[in-house]
């Protein structure tokens, strides 16, 4: 893999592991950002891993950009012997597909969409070669997903589908971004799914909504007491389709602050996954059975 380095103004070093998305690129980004953190370079203020790249922000009054570049480049050899296994967790996220709230929103911004005559799900199903929206939804929730980046807005996870590339769903973003997206919308753009952590602008196609909060600046939600952001890179997600009744039940639990997400600790092994994706995924998802 050819790693590309660039200055981002005088306060950042930007490192692109690969132009295209892959789990290999993600694992190298994770190893290298860990190496940069562990090197404890004086002047570094932020180390941010992304899908297939990462960025280091620093104070140029403490270390010159060229010197920082040299230090970051010197860690490149750590990419090869970086860990390819990750102790992490699998989380079940309930999703109400084709919900009324994202539907209302997508109708409001129809003129910004590739196909103003249909819904986002109808469009995504068609361009990905599915016969029906139901078959497309099933493909979306039947395999697990890997959180390869947290960002855009506070606590928003980017999720990468754990299947062969030829089975991965790909959709374009809206032609022009919407100015509104309901909070906790499950979206899709490029090869990534996402959960909008807050209400706001967005360009991803909208598939559904989860009743489960994933960001709480007041830290009152029981499972967000320790930290306001739920996701971190490396988390694994299993979408669970729910209907309106289940949505309302979970929402009531969220409001009573009694909702507890279903979570299990798992190990993600990149090589074992690549050797047998379906078998590895089945074992990952089985972990949720005894929660």
């Amino acid at each position: 893999m050819h790693i590309r380095y660039s200055h981002g103004g005088d306060e950042h070093i930007f490192v692109e592991i690969g132009e295209e998305m892959s789990l290999d690129a993600f694992f190298i980004s994770l190893s290298l950002t860990r190496a940069v953190r562990e090197a404890k370079i004086d002047g570094v203020t932020e180390v941010c891993p992304a899908n297939s790249s990462f960025q280091v922000k620093f104070d140029p009054d403490k270390i010159s950009p060229d010197e920082m570049m040299t230090k970051v480049k010197a860690l490149e050899h750590k990419a090869e012997d970086g860990e390819k296994t990750l102790k992490t967790r699998i989380i079940e996220i309930p999703v109400y597909y084709q919900d009324p709230w994202t539907h209302e929103t997508l109708m409001r911004f129809r003129e910004r969409h590739q196909d103003p005559s249909g819904s986002d799900l109808e469009y995504a199903a068609r361009i990905n070669g599915y016969d029906s929206v139901a078959a497309f939804i099933e493909a979306h929730h039947s395999s697990p997903w890997f959180v390869s980046m947290v960002g855009f807005v506070a606590g928003l996870p980017f999720l990468y589908q754990l299947v062969d590339r030829d089975r991965q769903i790909e959709v374009p973003k809206y032609l022009r971004p919407r100015t509104d997206t309901p909070k906790q919308t499950v979206g899709y753009g490029g090869c990534f799914s996402c959960i909008y952590s807050v209400r706001g602008a967005g360009g991803y196609q909208m598939f559904g909504i989860t009743p489960m909060p994933i960001y709480d600046p007041t830290q009152t939600v029981s499972y967000l007491k320790d930290f306001m952001v739920f996701f971190q890179p490396g988390d694994i997600v299993k979408w669970k389709p729910i209907d309106r009744a289940e949505y309302d039940t979970i929402l009531a639990q969220v409001e009573a602050n009694t909702y507890a997400p279903r979570i299990r600790e798992v190990v993600f092994d990149l090589e074992a996954f690549k050797a047998d994706m379906d078998g590895f995924n089945a074992r990952l998802m089985e972990a949720l059975n005894d929660v």
């Binding site: 306060e11 998305m21 932020e46 992304a50 960002g151």
Partner: protein, 323 residues
């Protein structure tokens, strides 16, 4: 020890120097868009440079003080008045309990910084009092000020009224504004001709200018070098596999209108960036009014660092004058 918000103005938020350290979770650095002006205002009233003050956009708030305090207003030319009496800008002036602070119409710049002795003493979140409204974080209940808010103040030091920043040390953008840019990041995705036109063209600040970013219009559309879109990036030539954005980086969605990302920008996304405005000039962007003609000036890393040192020297002189 509070002041009361009688009228919040157009958009007035509590800001300090920002909230570094959480960008990897999508929480932006936030803080004053013109940090030079906030630092100067704080120094004038005897605060730490990083104390929280108010950032008022285009229009000043109407505040009623319940405590004696020293106030300084810097940044935009938004002349303050105490019970109707005009007060100088970039200068410390006293206000007494029961008096009101109001502002005239904006005469220049875009964002005024109001520092009050003792600093604003709302509860810090993740180490900062800065308001990040999209994430309902920091500031006053995570939102801009509203009528009726009682804003707490800290314990101030005693300083003399009339302390001032010399005119020569007050920094603001000229017209046309010049923003120095270090090309980089995804610069290689555009053609040589497009790169040249970006720096040759005159741009104008678009009305879409906020704490997330400032959009520019009027230059030629960006032409992309031919390439096959990488897997996961999306089909538009301006799309990349979503990555982190640098503070000050310039994205051009669809190749049409450049946006310079600022303090509350999204932490990452799927649009290419062609470089970044140098750190020394980010404060100036906070003072750009819509329609201001703007030129992007290509600089080297060495020139960017010289600009940074010049700005630091200016601040050092203010510190010295006020010590």
């Amino acid at each position: 020890m509070t002041f009361k918000v009688i009228n919040p103005g157009l958009l007035t938020t509590i800001q300090d120097l920002g909230r570094p350290g959480y960008f990897h979770l999508g929480i932006p650095i936030s803080g004053a868009m013109d940090r030079f002006a906030l630092r100067a205002a704080n120094l004038l009233v005897g605060n730490d440079e990083g104390a929280a003050g108010l950032e008022a956009v285009f229009m000043g708030p109407l505040l009623e003080f319940e405590v004696d305090a020293m106030v300084a207003v810097t940044g935009a030319i938004l002349p303050p008045r105490v019970d109707g009496e005009e007060q100088p800008l970039w200068t410390a002036f006293p206000i007494k309990a029961g008096q009101s602070l109001t502002f005239d119409y904006l005469k220049g710049g875009a964002r005024a910084y109001i520092a009050i002795s003792g600093g604003i003493a709302t509860k810090p979140h993740l180490g900062s009092r800065s308001t990040y409204p999209i994430g309902s974080l920091g500031g006053f209940d995570g939102r801009p000020l509203a009528t009726g808010d009682m804003v707490p103040l800290g314990e101030g030091k005693t300083v003399k009224a009339g302390r001032t920043v010399a005119e020569a040390l007050r920094r603001g953008p000229g017209s046309p504004a010049e923003l120095r840019v270090l090309p980089g990041l995804y610069w290689h995705l555009i053609t040589e001709r497009a790169g040249k036109a970006f720096f040759d063209d005159e741009w104008k600040v678009a009305p879409e200018a906020d704490r997330m970013g400032v959009r520019f219009r009027g230059g030629q559309p960006i032409e992309f070098a031919p390439r096959e879109q990488p897997f996961g990036a999306g089909s538009d030539p301006s799309n990349i596999v979503d990555g982190c954005y640098s503070y000050g980086s310039i994205q051009v969605p669809g190749g049409s209108e450049p946006i310079v990302l600022h303090r509350d920008a999204v932490s990452g996304g799927g649009y290419f960036t062609l470089g970044a405005v140098v750190s020394a000039d980010m404060d100036l962007i906070g003072q750009l009014q819509p329609h201001t003609p703007t030129r992007f000036v290509r600089v080297t890393l060495e020139e960017a660092l010289t600009a940074r040192r010049d700005r630091a020297a200016l601040l050092a002189r203010i510190r010295e004058d006020l010590s």
